[in-house]
Structures are given as structure tokens and as C-alpha cells.
Symmetry: C2
Subunit: 327 residues, 2 copies
């Protein structure tokens, strides 16, 4: 690849970030709330517009950005050979989705963006984050590793034998929807009862005390017994989920991000680790759980990591040019 | 590979099978109860002796068999660079194992067999079974597929993006030890409570009525309401496990073997499938669950599939020469 500039986009349920980067690092980053109304192509057209804005901000000719990495919320479906988004909180056309001002069923992200870019790579945001941690973060050199996000939702990027898992439609890693309990009150947005997100996503964790997740952890850390019990139990569920992935994939190392972990990981980690290490040693001995090195930028750097030219990587590892995006 | 003859071994907790095969198919197969006493090398030495016996039976010079595929029960550990077996029901040296007439901790299968064979491939028996189904059975041409065995234990061989998963010690697929319930009475041999094996392995499924699994299914199929309820619930748990793997790996096709499924799969399949299909369609639509085409021979053919020369495969697909082993 001989690109002088590359583009990267992080499509989330609430906001989109677009970055243009050169060999020395990211040059500009623009963000906008994710569009949720208008024609079926509104969202990918927003992405194209934002990439133009990022280029103008960086003083780069948009026509010179022909390669883009896309980190996106999922799940994905394939439609006429192109990958589209079938995301419940973006697509009003889903019967389960309410209050969305559109009737979208599948958002044609790949079809529209392929008209704009010569080369694009689209991956689930956790898969992109995994690529970021393996390229620049806490999972460098790890062949059997997992990136996990514990935030409003819970998702994973999976790597086994040095191979990043995609699956039939690029949806590998949706283990936040893994069933772990028979609790009928642990209702997930996908309709499951007792899956990991239903039990402990940032959307659900405080619900049992009718407070927000931030309030719950604040109460737990200041000694409230009931809040502490709920927080400890949440950490145990998360640990059981990491153990389940270990039993399934024979993982060696986990890097964890997302707002719940980035704010409380230091406090949660020992509980999570104990829940893994108490299981069959042949499967669980030597496993590490660390905080994602790229923090809040992991999906942005992930989108870049999907398409970064090999010859840029060594320099970026030294200069860490993404740091200036944090401001 | 220009081998005229190849060897294959299936190491199970109760018996070992050794096969010698030529370009036209298997020539001889010998079986013995798995040795559980004697020096640490007793089991791999038994394998070498059995391969000699199979060669004599086939009229083949044992020295000409220099390549072997090994399908083995796990879990595996690495010791001094070699893969060893750390199998609870073979190793008396494990604190959890009782009544075993040995003090083995790790059985040095690879170290000993490498002295006998120039080229060996050792895989978990479910991984070998997956190779068999992908090469000769129900999963030919499938890139995103899983082999599952539902028998005394429950195990999986996993394939994502055309890549068979191994993991850090070759233990990927031990998802029979995936935690799925908080039921304290569902005790697994590994010490877990509420994992898939604890809930519904052939060892545990009849326990709730104090009968064998065979008796339970017989009662269920002849209309006993309580037995039927337990059997249906077991199928639902199995379906939830296949769904969990789908959410994790974005799988398209499952092939299922093992004694429980081979005897009752026709009756269980619709219940299993319904438990998958009622979940988020973006993840679960179009998934197939079929019976493993190689039936009881899947691990034997699996061990062969690990090392079969490419140029033999097309012929074996036509003549199915493993059929004569079934007798």
C-alpha cells in the first residue's frame, strides 16, 4: 500500500468519529451525532461528508484519501454481496426498535462507501479495538487474546492462533449475548433473558437499585453494602464470561476497555481474575486481564489499525501520535 | 507427503484405537482398553505397541509408518516444549482424581511418540472429529462450522473463517465447561457448578431420576411425563449452548455426534433448533444443525484426516473406505 493519507471512521450508536491520518499520525478528527433519520443512505453519506470535513481541517485533498478503515457497531448482515448494519438502536425498521425516526432495516454502509473509497475494511468496533491493542496496545505479540468492552453494551474482539475471528457475517464476538443465567429479570435489548448484557451491561447494572451505573459504583466504593454486593456480583458475572471465552477459545490474555472498566477496572480486576482462576487449572492458569492501553481511543485507533500501512507502524509505536486526539 | 502408509490413533478415556491406512483406505484397526497403571510412559508406549499390532495385522512393515495423526481426550498442557495429557480421568496424580492406580500428572504423549514417528499431529478428539466432518462428512466446504459431541462428556471442535481453532495449548473447544446456570446441583467433574456438562452430559442427565441416560430417553420416548420434561429441558440447554457458540463465533453449521445425539438426535433436533432460532435473527438466521455423517467413527477418521495426504482425499470421498471399520 503506498497511500500517503488514510481515513478512519468509528460508527457508534450515538456518535461518529472520522479521522484522516498521514505517515506521522492522525492529522484531524471530527465527530458528529449519528444520524438517525432521512433516506436509507443517510448514515454512510454522513460518513463521507465527515471525511471531507476532516480532510479540509487537515489541509488534505479529499481525493487523495482512497483507503478507509471502518469500525462500526453491529450486528452486520450481508445484502447483495455487501455488508450492511442491522443495528437495533439505529434501524427503526426493526420490529423490536421503537422511537426511531426512520424505517431502516439494513443500512447499506459498504455499498455506499465503496463508491467513495477504492479500498475499505469494515469491522465490528470490538474487532477493530482488538486490532488496535494488538498493533499498538496491551496485546502486542499475543496470538491468543481477546479485547472486551464493558460499557453501555458488552462486546468482544477475538483472536485465536494469531487469527482475528470474523465469522460468516463478521459478527464473531457478540458474546455479550451469551446466555449465562436463568434470571428472567435480566432482560437484554436483543430480547434474551439472562444473557451477559442483560445481567451487567452499563444499561442494566444500576437498575436493581433504580440508579445509574455511575451512581451505583460511587455508592459501592463509598461503602454502601447493597451497592457493593451488586458491583461485586457484576464483576463475578464478567469474570465468568471471560472464563467461558477461555474454555471456548483457550485464551491467554484479555485487554478490557469501555466506560465501566476504564472507570472502575482497578477495583473490579481482582474479583474478575479470581472468578477465572478458581476454575480448572489446565484451562485457566497463567491468564492475564489488563486494561486496554488505548483507553477511550481504542475504536478510533482500531479503525486506523485495520488499514494502516505496515511501514508506518514502528514509528507510531514510538511516537504514539494518537495521544493528541485525546485532547 | 509421499507416505505409502499412515497411522492414526484415537486415545479415549476408556479405550484406544489404532489404525494403519494406505492410499485405498484403512487396512487394519486394533482397540484396547486405555492403560491406567505403570510408569509415566505407559500410555504412549501402549499406543506404539498397538500401532505395531495394527501393522502386523495389515501385513505392513511398522518401520514404513512414519507419520501419525493422534486424536486424544484433553485437556492438554505444554511441558518442556511437548504437548502432554492432563486428563482428569486418566491422571491419578491430580488431586481431584480418585481411584486411579497411578500418580501421573501429565502424560508425555508427544515426547514419547516423537521418538517413534517422524511426523505427528496431535489434536483434541473433537478437533480431529471436526477435521473428519470437514474432509469427508457433513461439513465439507463449510468455513464457519462446529463439530459437537454429546456423550459421556460434551466437547466441541471449532472452525471460523476456514481456520480450525487450537488456542494457546490446543484446548479450544472445551466449551462443555461453559457456565450456563446457577444451579448448584449441576456438578461437573471439573468442579464447576452449572456448566454445560454438569447440566446435561451423558454422565449427569439421568441423575435427576436416578436412572441411566439410556433409561431416561427410553422413558421419555415412551411417554413418561417427568422423563420427557427432563429430556426436553436437556435439548433446550444443548440448544442454548449452540446459540452461545453462534453468538461468540458467528457459526453457520453444526454437525453433532456422540452417543446421546447419535441415538436420539432425530427427536432432539427440532427442540435444539428452536432454542437457537428464537434468538436475534441477525445472529441466528440460516443456521443448520445436522448429525455427524461419520457417526461413531468420527474420531478415528478424524485422526486420519489430520495427516491424510491431499492426493488420497478425492478417492476416499467416493469409496468411503472407512465403512468397513464399522463392522
Amino acid at each position: 500500500m503506498d497511500a500517503t493519507y488514510i481515513g478512519a471512521v468509528d460508527i457508534g450508536g450515538t456518535k461518529i468519529a472520522a479521522i484522516v491520518a498521514g505517515p506521522q499520525g492522525p492529522l484531524a478528527r471530527v465527530t458528529e451525532p449519528t444520524i438517525k433519520s432521512g433516506p436509507l443512505e443517510a448514515l454512510p453519506n454522513q460518513v463521507i461528508g465527515m471525511m471531507g470535513a476532516a480532510c479540509r481541517q487537515a489541509g488534505v485533498d479529499p481525493a487523495s484519501v482512497t483507503t478507509a478503515g471502518i469500525a462500526s457497531c453491529g450486528p452486520f448482515v450481508h445484502e447483495q454481496g455487501f455488508l450492511g448494519l442491522s443495528t437495533p438502536n439505529l434501524c427503526g425498521g426493526h420490529t423490536a426498535a421503537v422511537d426511531l425516526p426512520n424505517d431502516w432495516d439494513v443500512i447499506p454502509v459498504e455499498r455506499v462507501l465503496r463508491e467513495r473509497f477504492n479500498h475499505i475494511v469494515i469491522q465490528n468496533d470490538c474487532v477493530a479495538a482488538l486490532a488496535a491493542e494488538r498493533t499498538f496496545g496491551a496485546l502486542q505479540g499475543e496470538r491468543d487474546c481477546v479485547y472486551a468492552t464493558w460499557s453501555t453494551g458488552i462486546g468482544f474482539g477475538l483472536c485465536v492462533d494469531g487469527h482475528i475471528l470474523h465469522g460468516k457475517h463478521g459478527n464473531a464476538g457478540h458474546a455479550g449475548h451469551m446466555l449465562m443465567s436463568e434470571r428472567q429479570d435480566a432482560l437484554c435489548g436483543c430480547g434474551n433473558r439472562g444473557d451477559l448484557e442483560g445481567l451487567i451491561s452499563g444499561r442494566n447494572i444500576g437498575r436493581r437499585m433504580h440508579i445509574t451505573t455511575a451512581e451505583l459504583f460511587r455508592a459501592a466504593r463509598s461503602g454502601d453494602a447493597r451497592a457493593r454486593e451488586i458491583a461485586v456480583e457484576a464483576a463475578q458475572w464478567f469474570g465468568r464470561a471471560l472464563y467461558n471465552l477461555t474454555a471456548t477459545l483457550d485464551t491467554r490474555a484479555f485487554a478490557v476497555g469501555g466506560s465501566v472498566w476504564l472507570n472502575h477496572g482497578e477495583w473490579l480486576a481482582p474479583i474478575v481474575l479470581e472468578e477465572i482462576e478458581r476454575r480448572l487449572p489446565a484451562l485457566t492458569s497463567g491468564i492475564t486481564v489488563v486494561t486496554a492501553a488505548l483507553g477511550n481511543l481504542v475504536a478510533d485507533i482500531g479503525a486506523l489499525s485495520l488499514i494502516i500501512p505496515d511501514e508506518w507502524i514502528a514509528g507510531w509505536r514510538v511516537t504514539q501520535p494518537w495521544q493528541k486526539l485525546a485532547g
